[in-house]
């Protein structure tokens, strides 16, 4: 039995194939091993839930405390390129996951609060290969 991936959900949240190519189906045989498609799907499903549940909240901690945010963190460092892709498409509070996923922080007092500048800092950090 194959489970179809809902591409519409991914694209509606800015996913493009520049991250990588997704297979459209996956096997559920007993030898099944987790693949890229699993965590990509998990990431975008969690992001969609997170965005919907916190959209009228002004408290960034509501975003971070949400169970869907913890699901994204559970993906580990494999989520980093997905977050970078997302914030490259549009400013998003998902940038808050990056310090926790990478163990580093690029936010300095001069950019605090400015989502666009904070996102730019992280994108630049990623382009440099994750170096300060």
């Amino acid at each position: 039995m194959n489970a179809a991936l809902k591409y519409s959900d991914l694209y509606s949240y800015g996913f493009t194939d520049r991250i990588g190519t997704l297979a459209a189906t996956r096997s559920t045989s007993k030898n099944y091993q987790a693949t890229r498609i699993d965590y990509v799907e998990k990431f975008y499903r969690a992001l969609k839930k997170l965005a919907e549940d916190t959209k009228v909240s002004s408290n960034p901690m509501d975003f971070v405390k949400h169970h869907a945010f913890r699901e994204i963190l559970s993906i580990g460092e494999k989520a980093v390129p997905l977050v970078i892709s997302e914030i490259s498409t549009r400013p998003s509070l998902i940038v808050l996951a990056l310090p926790m996923l990478t163990g580093t922080n690029v936010v300095t007092p001069d950019v605090q609060g400015n989502l666009e500048k904070i996102s730019s800092r992280w994108i630049e950090w990623y382009r440099r290969g994750g170096r300060p």
Partner: protein, 152 residues
């Protein structure tokens, strides 16, 4: 394309379409506290992660005293209510169980204006946002209105 304000009915049980108007596109660039403080280019919040801006002289704690102090740095002082007073601009801070949740500012015509999370700016009646999401208004503050008191 005009957005139907009733999309917010599910969030605000006191939603009244006659007192609720969407006034901007959605934007993740600023939040309600920044908007109440007159900024539309940044987030204001005393989050422990250090993500958002917070006046450097004020503690980064999520309580009402700290939010009052933050607005005192902008020249506001506590006042008794949200009535329109000639020559003054007012803000309101909402809370649930003593934890700040939302901020709104009063426009010159007496109606209240808010940024709803990462969504739209709206104008609304004083009680329209009361409910499970934002709780209720904890306090009002005011300061003399000048001709260009807003940063944006």
């Amino acid at each position: 394309v005009a957005v139907d304000p009733s999309i917010y009915r599910q969030h605000f049980p006191n939603f009244d379409p006659s007192q609720f108007v969407i006034t901007s596109p959605k934007s993740p660039a600023y939040n309600c506290i920044a908007y109440a403080a007159g900024r539309e280019d940044m987030w204001w919040w005393p989050d422990v992660m250090g993500f958002a801006y917070w006046p450097p002289s004020v503690l980064r704690l999520e309580n009402l005293e700290v939010f009052q102090e933050a607005f005192e740095t902008l020249g506001y002082s506590l006042c008794s209510d949200g009535s329109l007073e000639d020559g003054f601009e007012k803000i309101a801070i909402y809370h649930k169980d003593g934890v700040p949740t939302h901020g709104a500012r009063q426009l010159e015509n007496g109606v209240w204006a808010s940024k709803l999370g990462r969504e739209h700016d709206v104008v609304h009646g004083e009680k329209c946002l009361d409910g499970e999401q934002y709780g209720t208004i904890a306090f009002f503050m005011k300061r003399p209105r000048t001709t260009n008191t807003r940063g944006s």
